[in-house]
Structures are given as structure tokens and as C-alpha cells.
């Protein structure tokens, strides 16, 4: 099953491109300290060897000065010798911030003198972590409630479906803004949580449709006939067979959570200062929008954001096609376009005698 799905997935180059892009961004996120750090990866100083000084906090290096290396000392630096939170000492400040690109700062600095390239690299961490975590929250709630609604039907279904419908009626960004606004202060955790807690409705809708289909299948009847309890049937037979829409939805969910996090951070209600988040970087750039020196700060985060969203949308599209033989490929975003739109494809019974697809 997995092998076949992979074969179907790998058949299209754009799916592999999306996967490759996502892996590259994930590596950037994981190894951000090896791309940009204010401390060398390996340092030999005064006869002592410090390994991975960029990730391990050596006590002797707390007041480390990059220019203060004596004879016989050497250092292996990451490509960018700036940390994401590193503010230049006042004495060394020469020009106004934000600084235009220079040898020291390939993409310039923000208005506090922090290196843009370093903040971009570390921003991958925030974006992907919040995106993946929010999507996981979304899919866990959505899967559970969707299966319950589809399998049990009746008032459970009504309650869950109504709640989902209410959540889908709100302009999402407005709702998230209001929720984040009433919190005392927003954190990365709260950003992740509110995105997941409001977006589950999308997953539950897809899962519910699948559960409605699955519960009529012979093997569910067989399981019941063999005397398994409702709970056992639900967990062992219905739930596992509803996983593919959940998997597809989690991938699209990552893409939209990344977008939402950046939008919230851009508005100042997502990642708190001074987190290196792509949305916050854009907000910093927006403050000096007319200053040409701020151009990289305004434009570069968006490119990475675009790459990340494209990658996860491509994977989601490929997965949908690979997991569901009935799906028509050709980048049909009727599923990746979020929210209630799918409701539109109404359950007109198909003339060819097929099942009236329940708002799938």
C-alpha cells in the first residue's frame, strides 16, 4: 500500500520537486546554527579545542570576541558569521540602520543592526516548527471529531458539523487576530495553538466524508457481525481507513499554518519580538519600507515563505493523487483551497449511477 502510493507519488517530477524543497528547508531549519552563528563551529583557543561552539554554550566563550584570536588559535566558521539576535556593539556602529548589503552582512541588517541573512536562516526554524505543530494539532482534533461525526451520525454529527461550520464562517485571520489580541501576550506556542484549534474544522470535514463512505463498506459490517464493539470497529476499522484524507489535510495544513503564522507575526500578533520569524522580518522591513537599504529585509523572507508554501502544497497535491486513485490530478486545488468551498460541490446524484458523494 505504502509502496504503491510512493510509486504513484514519485511518478510526477513536481511532487519530487516539492518534497526536495521541503527537505531542503527542513535541513536549513535544523542546521540554522551551521549556516549563521556568531560563534565558530570548531574553535581552538589558548590550547583548548571547542567543538560545536555554535550550538553548545561553553562557559569560557560567553564573552567571546571573534577578532581576539591569538597566534596558534584557529576557528572554523559557518558561512555567515552573524547570529540572529546579535546586535553590534555601540562603538562599532558607523552608519544608520538598516544597513545596506555589505561584505559583512550579505543581505544587510534590520533596524536594530541584526544580520538579515542570519535571521532568515533561523526564521526557517520558527516557520516550519509552528507550521508542523499547528497542522498536527489541527489534524488530531479534526481526525477524531471527523471520524466520530461520520461514524456515529445523529446528534453527534450535527453538533460537530455545526461547530465546524461556524468556525469556517469566520474570516480566519480576523478571528485569530481577535483571539491573539485578548491574550496577555502572544507566544509561538499560543500562535501554534490558536491556528490548530481553529483550523481543525477543515480536516474534520474531509475525514467525516470519508467516514461516511467507509462505514457502509462490507468489512465494517463484517466486523460488527463478528461481534466487535462499536468502539473497536471505530478504532480498528474505520479510523485507519480515514487516514488518507487526514494525511493530505495535514500537508495542506502545514502550508496554510505557515502562511497564517507569518501573517499574524507581520501584524504583530504572532511570534513575539525578537524572534526571528519571517513574518516579523517583513514587519521590520515594512517600518522602513521607503529605505532602499531595507529592500532585502522586505523581499527575502517572502521568497522563502513562498518556497515553503509551494513545497507543502505540491506534496499535498501529490499525496492526494497518490492516496486516492479516484482523484483527478493536474494540480486541482479544489481540495487545497481551504475552507468551505468543497461544500459547493453539492450531492447531486451522479447520472452514471455512482454514489452521491457527500460533500467530499
Amino acid at each position: 500500500m505504502i509502496g504503491r502510493a510512493w510509486a504513484r507519488f514519485a511518478r510526477k517530477k513536481r511532487n519530487l520537486f516539492g518534497l526536495g524543497l521541503a527537505i531542503a528547508l527542513a535541513l536549513l531549519a535544523i542546521f540554522a546554527d551551521f549556516v549563521a552563528s556568531s560563534r565558530p563551529i570548531v574553535l581552538r583557543r589558548g590550547g583548548r579545542l571547542y567543538v560545536f561552539a555554535n550550538v553548545i554554550d561553553y562557559r569560557d566563550l560567553r564573552s567571546f570576541d571573534a577578532d581576539g584570536l591569538g597566534p596558534g588559535d584557529w576557528a572554523l566558521w559557518p558561512p555567515c558569521r552573524q547570529g540572529p539576535y546579535q546586535i553590534p556593539p555601540l562603538a562599532s556602529v558607523t552608519g544608520p540602520f538598516p544597513e545596506p548589503p555589505s561584505r559583512r552582512h550579505p543581505l544587510g541588517t534590520d533596524n536594530a543592526g541584526r544580520d538579515t541573512l542570519a535571521r532568515l536562516a533561523h526564521g526557517a526554524r520558527v516557520s516550519l516548527a509552528v507550521g508542523v505543530a499547528a497542522a498536527l494539532v489541527q489534524v488530531m482534533i479534526g481526525l477524531l471529531l471527523g471520524v466520530l461525526a461520520g461514524y456515529l451520525g445523529g446528534w453527534t454529527d450535527r453538533l460537530i458539523s455545526r461547530t465546524a461550520e461556524v468556525l469556517l464562517s469566520f474570516p480566519l485571520l480576523l478571528l485569530l487576530l481577535a483571539v491573539q489580541g485578548v491574550l496577555d501576550r502572544t507566544t509561538l506556542f499560543s500562535t501554534m495553538a490558536v491556528i490548530g484549534l481553529t483550523r481543525w474544522a477543515d480536516t474534520s470535514r474531509l475525514v467525516r466524508a470519508e467516514a461516511l463512505r467507509v462505514r457502509e463498506l462490507p468489512y465494517v459490517e463484517a466486523s460488527r457481525a463478528l461481534g466487535s464493539s462499536g468502539l473497536r470497529t471505530l478504532l480498528r476499522h474505520v479510523l485507519p481507513n480515514c487516514l488518507s484524507p487526514a494525511l493530505v489535510s495535514v500537508t495542506f495544513g502545514v502550508a496554510s499554518a505557515i502562511l497564517l503564522e507569518s501573517a499574524l507575526s507581520f501584524l504583530g500578533f504572532g511570534a513575539p519580538e525578537p524572534t526571528a520569524s519571517w513574518g516579523l522580518l517583513m514587519a521590520d522591513g515594512f517600518q522602513d519600507i521607503l529605505d532602499p537599504a531595507a529592500r532585502p529585509l522586505v523581499l527575502a523572507p517572502g521568497l522563502l515563505l513562498f518556497a515553503a508554501v509551494t513545497a507543502f502544497n505540491l506534496i499535498g497535491d501529490g499525496l492526494r493523487e497518490a492516496l486516492d486513485p479516484r482523484a483527478q490530478g493536474a494540480l486541482d486545488p479544489s481540495a487545497f483551497i481551504t475552507s468551505a468551498q468543497k461544500r459547493v460541490i453539492s450531492p447531486v446524484p451522479k447520472p452514471d449511477g455512482g454514489d452521491p458523494t457527500p460533500a467530499a
Partner: protein, 311 residues
């Protein structure tokens, strides 16, 4: 519909109620400093929100006031929330309705061209383009348009001292571009899949069999039937547009719903936040209802009964 509207107000109330600490006390601190919220206003707010009552009673009281059009007064300047919303809504409508129209006008040729030869080079090129459009972060597009030396105004609705129609139009170009590209992606893809669905139907085969040219089959037979389903999209693209308005109005400095909400959240102006959230939710519910009614009127195969529920 009614249940959805009730749910929308419940969420708006819950958000305000979930605020940690007493929003009134908090506002008191801020208010004293800013010298804006008077004691009388806060008493008014407590009464409106039913803050001295249990949650359910408080909700019912708030709902009762809401139904009578009493949304309270803003903490910031003491003006009625309703009139603040009334000033901001037209600006947002001025953006969202034309952007929907632009979206439809641009999406039609794209969708038709894609569906005419599914899998052909044009379809693949357009699909890729639309897919990329869909993945573009809105705030980035807006910032690029601001930085881009286009010569078009990038702030507000009017230039200093002028109020001509041409001036207003020039100010709307960039915000409209930002809000439209997403709708183009959604609508054209939707049209494509609904046209492909129609092309498989028997009546299309009949039209082909009687010797009609392919363009006549597509434009006169498949297209009108696919357009029906586009009606429903009208109500459903609203949430996306309202979300987009928050960002676009912030970047281009337009005094619409998005800016109002953003500033209210920033200043913890709870009555305004609640009013805006409730209004936007209700507007979506209303939009969905209207497009459902239109759809039922346009397509006799659809019964309202069937479409009203989740199913």
C-alpha cells in the same frame, strides 16, 4: 443558517469573555492613562456585556442588545461601535466587491482555456501559474507592489486635497491587485473542474454528435452549466477576502474593517473587536445564504432543503 449565526455570536462573545483579567479593569488602567474611557463608559460596558452575571445570562443579555443594534461604545473615543463599523464597512466593500468582479472576469478565460484541452500545454502552463499564485503570501505581494516603482499611490484613499473619482481609482489599483490574484486562482480552478465535470455529461456528447464545433460545445453548452456552480463561490470567497483585507488595509493605510479591527485589537478595544468579529461572521453566513438561494433559483435540480444542512 440561524444556528450558524447564533454560533458566530457565541464565538465573538467567548473571545471577549476569555480575555484574562477583567477587560474593564485593564481598560481602566489604560483609560486613565490615555484619559479616554470614562467611568460612565465602563459602567455602560459592564451592563452591555453582562459582566456581573453568569456567562450564559451575560451572553443572552449581550445578544439581546446586539439584536437591537446596541453594540456599545468604543473605549478609545466613546463613539458607538455601530457607527464605527458603519464607516469602515463601505471602504472594505469598495475593495472586496470590485476585487471579486475582477477575479471573476480574469478567471473566466483562464478556466475555459484550461478545461478546453485538459492536459494540454496551455492547461499545464495555466495550472502551474495558478498554483504558484495560490502559494504567494499576500503580505509579500503587497509589499512588493509598494516597493515597486509603479508611480501609483500607495497610501490611503485620496491624495491630499483632492477627491476626484480618478484619484480614488488610482488609489484602489494596487490594493485591488492584491485582493484579486487569490480569487483568480480559486475561481479559475473551480471553473475548470466544474467544466470538466459537465464535459462528461450526456448532453455534451449529444451536442458533439450533432456536429457542433468544439467551441460552440464549450461556450454554449458546457460553460453556462458550469457558471451555475460559480454562483455559490460568491458567498464563500468572502472569508478569504475579509482576511486579506486586514493585511491589505494595514499596508496601504485604508480605513476599512481590517484596519478598524487591527487597531481595536491593538488598543484592546473589546467592544469594537466583538462587533467586528460578529459582523464578519454574520456577513459570511449571510453571503452563504444568498448564494444558496441564488443557486437554488438558478438550478431547479437543487432543492433548498438539501443544501441547507451540512450535507
Amino acid at each position: 443558517m440561524l444556528a450558524t449565526a447564533l454560533g458566530v455570536t457565541l464565538v465573538a462573545f467567548a473571545v471577549a469573555r476569555a480575555a484574562p483579567g477583567d477587560p474593564v479593569a485593564l481598560q481602566g488602567d489604560l483609560g486613565l492613562r490615555a484619559g479616554s474611557a470614562s467611568v460612565q463608559q465602563m459602567r455602560e460596558y459592564r451592563r452591555l456585556m453582562g459582566l456581573d452575571e453568569p456567562i450564559l445570562a451575560g451572553y443572552l443579555r449581550w445578544l439581546w442588545h446586539l439584536l437591537r443594534g446596541d453594540l456599545g461604545t468604543s473605549f478609545r473615543d466613546g463613539r458607538p461601535v455601530l457607527s464605527l463599523l458603519g464607516e469602515a464597512l463601505p471602504v472594505t466593500l469598495l475593495l472586496s466587491i470590485p476585487s471579486l468582479l475582477v477575479g471573476y472576469v480574469l478567471a473566466l478565460p483562464v478556466g475555459i482555456a484550461s478545461a478546453a484541452r485538459p492536459g494540454g500545454w496551455l492547461d499545464r502552463a495555466l495550472s502551474t501559474l495558478v498554483f504558484l499564485l495560490h502559494s504567494l503570501p499576500l503580505q509579500w505581494v503587497a509589499l512588493v507592489l509598494v516597493v515597486w516603482p509603479s508611480g501609483l499611490p500607495i497610501q490611503g484613499l485620496h491624495s491630499e486635497g483632492t477627491s476626484s473619482f480618478g484619484d480614488l481609482l488610482a488609489h484602489l489599483v494596487l490594493p485591488l491587485a492584491c485582493l484579486s490574484y487569490g480569487s483568480v486562482a480559486v475561481i479559475s480552478r473551480f471553473l475548470r473542474s466544474s467544466m470538466l465535470e459537465e464535459m462528461r455529461q450526456d448532453y455534451v456528447r449529444t451536442a458533439r454528435a450533432k456536429g457542433l464545433s468544439e467551441s460552440a460545445v464549450i461556450l454554449r453548452h458546457a460553460l453556462p452549466n458550469s457558471l451555475l456552480s460559480l454562483i455559490t463561490l460568491f458567498g464563500l470567497t468572502f472569508p478569504a477576502l475579509a482576511s486579506g483585507a486586514v493585511i491589505v488595509e494595514r499596508i496601504f493605510g485604508l480605513p476599512g474593517m481590517g484596519k478598524l479591527t487591527f487597531e481595536a485589537v491593538l488598543g484592546r478595544d473589546v467592544p469594537v473587536v466583538m462587533g467586528a468579529v460578529a459582523l464578519s461572521g454574520a456577513a459570511t453566513a449571510l453571503g452563504t445564504l444568498i448564494s444558496d438561494l441564488l443557486y437554488a433559483a438558478a438550478d431547479p435540480r437543487i432543492s433548498l432543503e438539501e443544501r441547507r444542512g451540512w450535507r
